[in-house]
């Protein structure tokens, strides 16, 4: 639901921003899907198509100086946090102009300038990084918060419990966001996890909310309420967002483990478009947005293709700093 208190114009402008971000993430990943299939993107990529509303909704309540730690499925987090399209595509296309100079790739996209502390190849690792970042925010009295995104597969990792305990104990300004897509890599999450997050949160004294992760406004509203309290020093909070993973665990995953009759969640774009329609924004306006985003994405891909490839020699200087002494 659009927030109460904001005026109608603000609400519409925010809804349009949400829609544009959702569509940007979607188009980027659809293009990556093709680029990967055509062999232009090397390595492993994990797409978040169907889950975009969580990235966009949560990030709408954050500033550039708030920090996030992401996952292996981190494209949406990176883009919604403000990573530039050109640096993003250049990274995935293994270019020297990539955000990580072509050394990290999809699983390690990071942009410290917008507080994006990295996608991560290790399930659950972002939990402790975000907890530490929250500690820094607290000690610096910056008013900033940290957000850790993780999937329901990460609920089986010990770090969740260690970090939940530390964060609650130290009242750290951190929001934990579980993107519950029902899958723990190749296995149904309900066959991996023996507890639910509502009970878990209660055990640790962590404020908990559940939101429809396919509804950007529902996510944004829940995130905003929780983040307000987190920023006010009330300690950690957890937002569980139910959603669907439309693609495989990774691109190229044959997904023979998935049942034929699996019910896919609502399309976050259609949900957002319906809100816009209620505000009088029609198909034509959405097509204009779509055309503009397509052009931006294609321009970023073209720039990445034209950029020099990742450079081997430069890597040695970034293993560690050799002291002048």
């Amino acid at each position: 639901m659009p927030r109460q208190g904001a005026n109608a114009g603000d609400q519409l402008a925010q809804l349009l921003r949400h829609y544009e971000q959702l569509l940007t993430v979607r188009r980027c990943e659809e293009r990556l899907q093709r680029l990967f299939a055509e062999g232009e993107v090397p390595g492993f990529i994990h797409l978040s198509i169907g889950q975009e509303a969580i990235s966009v909704g949560v990030m709408s309540a954050l500033s550039d100086s708030d920090t996030i730690a992401s996952t292996h499925r981190g494209h949406g987090h990176a883009l919604a946090k403000g990573m530039p399209l050109e640096g993003f595509f250049a990274e995935l296309l293994a270019r020297d102009s990539g955000v990580c100079r072509g050394r990290g790739g999809s699983m390690h996209v990071a942009d410290m300038s917008v507080g994006m502390l990295g996608a991560n190849g290790i399930v659950g690792a972002g939990l402790s990084i975000a907890t530490g970042s929250a500690l820094a925010h607290k000690l610096k009295r910056s008013g900033n918060i940290a957000v850790s995104f993780f999937g329901d597969g990460a609920l089986a990792e010990g770090l969740l419990h260690e970090c939940g305990n530390v964060a609650a104990l130290m009242k750290l300004p951190i929001l934990l966001v579980c993107e519950a897509n029902g899958w723990s890599e190749f296995s149904p999450a309900d066959r991996q996890i023996a507890f639910n997050l509502a009970d878990w949160s209660k055990a640790y004294g962590i404020e908990y909310r559940k939101a429809d992760g396919n509804d950007v406004l529902a996510v944004a509203e829940a995130a905003e309420v929780l983040i307000h309290a987190v920023r006010d020093g009330e300690g950690p909070a957890l937002l569980e967002c139910t959603t669907s993973r439309w693609r495989g665990h990774f691109e190229g995953d044959a997904q023979k483990y998935r049942p034929q009759d699996e019910v896919q969640g609502r399309d976050p774009l259609e949900v957002a478009a319906a809100y816009l329609a209620r505000e009088g924004v029609g198909e034509q306006h959405l097509s204009q947005i779509s055309a503009r985003i397509d052009a931006e994405v294609e321009a970023a891909i073209a720039a990445a293709r034209a950029a020099p490839p990742a450079n081997y020699e430069s890597g040695f200087a970034d293993v560690y700093t050799l002291s002048a002494g």
Binding site: I122, S128, I129, S133, V166
Partner: protein, 326 residues
């Protein structure tokens, strides 16, 4: 010159670093109120308060990861892991996160954290409280590994480690904490990556680090009585290690012995041996001999542990062996 205990020198380095730079924090299990298992952080809580001297729960994986995240967000955390054996629980944070960040993120930043931890035996602490695991970290691109042998370089190297922009594993020896040694009147910073030649000699080079340096020096003294001049090099920093100083010494002596408390197999001595066999081959007049622990976990029984750990006698034997004097 004054005398200072090794542990006190480390405490002083922490105190001075915290006084100088408000972004330095120390964190770990029982380091605040309790002052640390070995008393190294005693007094810091009173001086700097609970925000900068953080007692954490027994959650090594989380606190190591938190040090990474805090370092990415503007702090300089110095994390104490109570015994080096417990670093097994911190490995993801160190190896996959801290070590990779500078490279993997294209040089956008790094992780200026220090993990302090004591290694080594001699206390009958048994297989899970005595290990020397430095070779693991020296093998991972992105981590620096430091291992001081006495109070003066413990102070100087820890100051450099804390000031360093990258993650540093700072390894102390629990058997040294109570030992006194000479320190300059004004404690000085010692750059990372530089070895120190503690004794000049021209027949055999003995390279060591940490507590084993004392064995090398004692063996050198004993050999001097027999008319054999031994040069003793304290590596100080294991990664990156000072290949230049070791090579120059080998060029002079033609004989190399490496002494450390860690298991010999696949260890720091193995790396130095391989490297010198490569770039120093022309200088070698005898086999390179390693003196370290055998391929066995650290035993509990005092007699067994005494046999297990390197000794002056074993260093002397190795020196004789490389000289063909067996």
């Amino acid at each position: 010159m004054a005398d200072l205990r090794y542990g006190a020198a480390i405490s002083q380095a922490l105190t001075d670093a915290m006084a100088e730079d408000p972004s330095v924090i120390v964190m770990g299990e029982d380091i605040g109120g309790a002052g640390g298992s070995f008393g190294i952080t005693r007094g810091l809580l009173d001086k700097f308060g609970p925000e900068r001297v953080i007692d954490t729960p027994i959650s090594e994986a989380a606190i190591a990861g938190m040090a990474v995240g805090a370092a990415m967000s503007g702090l300089k955390p110095v994390l104490e892991i109570m015994f080096m054996d417990f670093v097994t629980l911190t490995m993801d944070a160190l190896v996959n996160q801290a070590a990779k960040a500078r490279f993997m993120f294209g040089g956008q930043g790094s992780v200026p954290m220090v993990l302090r931890t004591p290694h080594g035996g001699g206390l009958s602490a048994g297989p899970q409280h005595s290990q020397c695991l430095e070779a693991w970290f020296a093998h991972v691109p992105g981590l620096k590994v430091v291992c001081p042998s006495g109070p003066a370089n413990a102070y100087g190297l820890l100051r450099s480690a804390i000031a360093d922009p990258d993650p540093v594993v700072f390894i102390e020896h629990k058997g040294l904490y109570a030992k006194k040694g000479p320190v300059p009147d004004v404690l000085t910073v010692i750059p990372l990556g530089q070895a120190a030649t503690l004794r000049q000699g021209d027949r055999v080079t003995v390279v060591s680090y940490g507590a084993a340096v004392a064995l090398a020096l004692a063996a050198a003294g004993q050999m001097a009585d027999e008319g054999v001049s031994v040069e003793v090099i304290d590596l100080q920093t294991i990664q990156p290690w000072d290949e230049t100083v070791v090579l120059a010494s080998l060029a002079k002596t033609g004989h190399l012995v490496i002494v450390h408390e860690a298991v010999e197999a696949f260890g720091v001595g193995a790396e130095i041996t391989a490297r010198m066999a490569d770039i120093g081959f022309a200088h070698l007049s005898g086999p390179i001999i390693r003196v370290g622990a055998p391929f066995m976990p650290v035993p509990f029984a005092a007699e067994l542990e005494a046999r297990y750990r390197p000794s002056v006698e074993r260093v002397v034997t190795a020196i004789r062996k490389t000289l063909g004097k067996e």
